[in-house]
């Protein structure tokens, strides 16, 4: 199966969220998506894989599958799980270099931008930063390998 690009995946999410015109439907959907999050194994729910700066606990672990980077994650809050599920849908199973360079903008466009506001920004922002940092490291490994 051909990998869809990051912008294509963002586009798909934006279109899905356009179906909701109220916040309730949007959050209901977000929470549903969170239930399908590829979960990190409990053994990895350690400080090493914890993302700092979130109001809820978040763990994220990268892995390599073929030449792609894949992520597994978990959180104790449902909305946070939904947000990570969206990020993973966009960034997981991509070439590391593409993730490292990605400019993730779709959250703003689907009307969840309050999660990017300054009090919460740190959480979501550090999640994206962490995902990109992992990808960058993998991309460099590949170059040197």
């Amino acid at each position: 199966m051909e990998t869809t690009s990051i912008p294509e995946r963002e586009e798909a999410i934006i279109n899905e969220f356009m179906l909701f015109d109220d916040w309730m439907g949007k959050y209901e959907y977000l929470i549903e998506l969170g239930k399908d999050l590829p979960l990190i194994e409990d053994a990895y729910k350690t400080d090493d894989f914890r993302i700092r700066g979130c109001q809820s606990q978040v763990w994220l672990r990268p892995d390599r599958a073929n030449s792609h980077v894949v992520y597994r994650a978990d959180s104790d809050a449902m909305i946070t799980k939904g947000l990570i599920a969206l990020l993973i849908r966009v960034l997981s199973d991509q070439p590391p270099a593409a993730v490292a360079e990605a400019d993730v903008q779709f959250l703003e466009e689907i009307g969840l931008k309050e999660h990017l506001s300054s009090t919460r920004k740190n959480g979501l922002q550090s999640m994206v930063q962490q995902m990109k940092a992992y990808a960058r490291a993998l991309a460099q490994d590949e170059q040197t390998a």
Binding site: W23, M24, Y27, Q55, Q57, D76, A77, M78, I79, T80
Partner: protein, 419 residues
């Protein structure tokens, strides 16, 4: 309400919540488009009445000048307003002397001032400071730092399941090794009103000093520092309808006189020379640099606002809100209130089933309801209950039963989403 620069002779009027609400511009607003704001985050900070906002504007529009410095007219006006605010506050907490009121940035700075300045002369290795398990981090960390500096030990009064202090544990801890008892008047996380008067008396009986963290009390109850007989009392302007960045440390005159300055600089000196500097008298000794002039004056206006109300009527109103909200919240399936002590202020921490507080708070926000979620700067207390945090609804005098109804309806609406 008319406000002019030198208005505001305290005037008691019957408590009329609609009239009071009308004085708070933020409470007239909406959020997320068209959701009328239900503001239930008062323990974090309160909204500001016109009297305070107008007073700050008047200061900058008509009186702005540095204080204690100029011979010119405006400097005298500003100094009179600044020192006038100190007098109002001294009266408000019933201090014996105006110069026992030290302006600080807030409760946190007041506690740090005492920990830093009094610390080493009060305590030595082996001595103890007593706090409680329900303290705000502001009333824990400065004492931990002091203990580290002088080799003293921090003792912690445990909290019961209901959220009350274990008084026997407290009296058992007291002894001649006790240097200081530092205790919150009202818990910001649980709402518990602690029996501070008795605790202060018991501390004094063993020769210890007592500091009260009053961050959550001046907005709910009358405080009389002489009746309490506390040695220090700290509070924050922003939690009692005043501006941010200003607060008060009250201390007994003899203690403040014996304490060395906290910070050095302008405004706190008597005479500076390279051979040696002498310090100014109280209160200026503890107010180095240009102070937060408009903050102090704004806090004075907040005191005018509170003194214009009948505090007994305010308390009756808040008690009604607490009782009503407690009843109504308990109608929600699986909702658990954290903090059910006998003596409580209008603060309700709760968990709804297994829902994470962050999820509850995020969804309530969508409906215009502002609550606090998280550990409320009381991590040891959350550890005590084995929970990561709570949702906290904290009510002020301008809240209504209608606000409670909106909260309860909103919780009912989001419950299916989160289970």
């Amino acid at each position: 309400m008319p406000t002019s620069v030198d208005s505001a002779a305290p005037r008691t009027q019957p408590f009329d919540v609609a009239a009071v609400r009308a004085q708070f511009p933020t409470l007239q607003g909406t959020v997320h488009g068209d959701q009328p704001l239900v503001y239930l985050d008062n323990a974090a900070t309160s909204q500001k009445p016109d009297m305070v906002i107008d007073r700050i504007r008047a200061y900058y529009a008509e009186e702005n000048s540095n204080v204690h410095r100029g011979v010119h007219r405006l400097s005298q006006v500003a100094t009179d307003a600044y020192e006038g605010a100190r007098e109002k506050i001294a009266r408000f907490i019933h201090a014996a002397h105006t110069h026992e009121v030290i302006f600080t940035r807030g409760t946190t700075e007041g506690i740090n001032l005492v920990a830093y300045s009094l610390g080493a002369s009060l305590l030595s290795a082996g001595d103890e400071i007593i706090v409680s398990e329900m303290e705000h981090h502001s009333n824990i960390v400065p004492w931990q730092m002091l203990c580290e500096r002088v080799g003293a030990t921090l003792r912690v009064i445990p909290v019961s399941d209901a959220g009350a202090l274990d008084y026997t544990a407290y009296t058992d801890m007291l002894g001649e090794q006790t240097g200081l008892v530092a205790i919150g008047h009202i818990s910001n996380a649980l709402g518990t009103i602690n029996p501070v008067q008795q605790m202060i008396a018991d501390a004094h009986a063993v020769g210890a000093l007592a500091l009260i963290d009053g961050a959550q009390s001046t907005q709910h109850t009358r405080v009389d520092v002489q009746a309490l007989d506390c040695d220090f009392f700290c509070f924050s302007g922003h939690k009692m309808f005043g501006p941010t960045g200003i607060g008060v440390l009250y201390g007994k005159e003899a203690l403040l006189n014996a304490m060395p300055p906290f910070q050095g600089g302008g405004d706190m000196i008597d005479r500076v020379s390279f051979e040696g500097t002498t310090y100014d008298a109280l209160p200026h000794k503890f107010e180095a640099g240009t102070p937060h002039i408009e903050g102090a004056i704004g806090l004075g206006a907040a005191v005018d606002f509170l003194e214009g109300l009948d505090m007994d009527a305010v308390q009756a109103h808040e008690t009604d809100l607490l009782t009503y909200a407690t009843e109504q919240l308990q109608t929600i399936d699986g909702l658990r209130i954290i903090g059910t002590a006998q003596e409580k202020a209008s603060v309700i921490s709760f968990l709804m089933g297994d829902a994470h507080p962050y999820d509850v708070g995020t969804l309530l926000d969508q409906m215009g309801i502002a609550v606090r979620t998280g550990h409320h700067c009381t991590e040891p207390l959350m550890d005590r209950y084995g929970i990561p945090g709570t949702v906290r609804a904290s009510f002020a005098l301008y809240n209504t039963r209608d606000d409670v109804d909106r909260l309860v309806q909103a919780l009912q609406r989001i419950q299916p989403l989160l289970s």
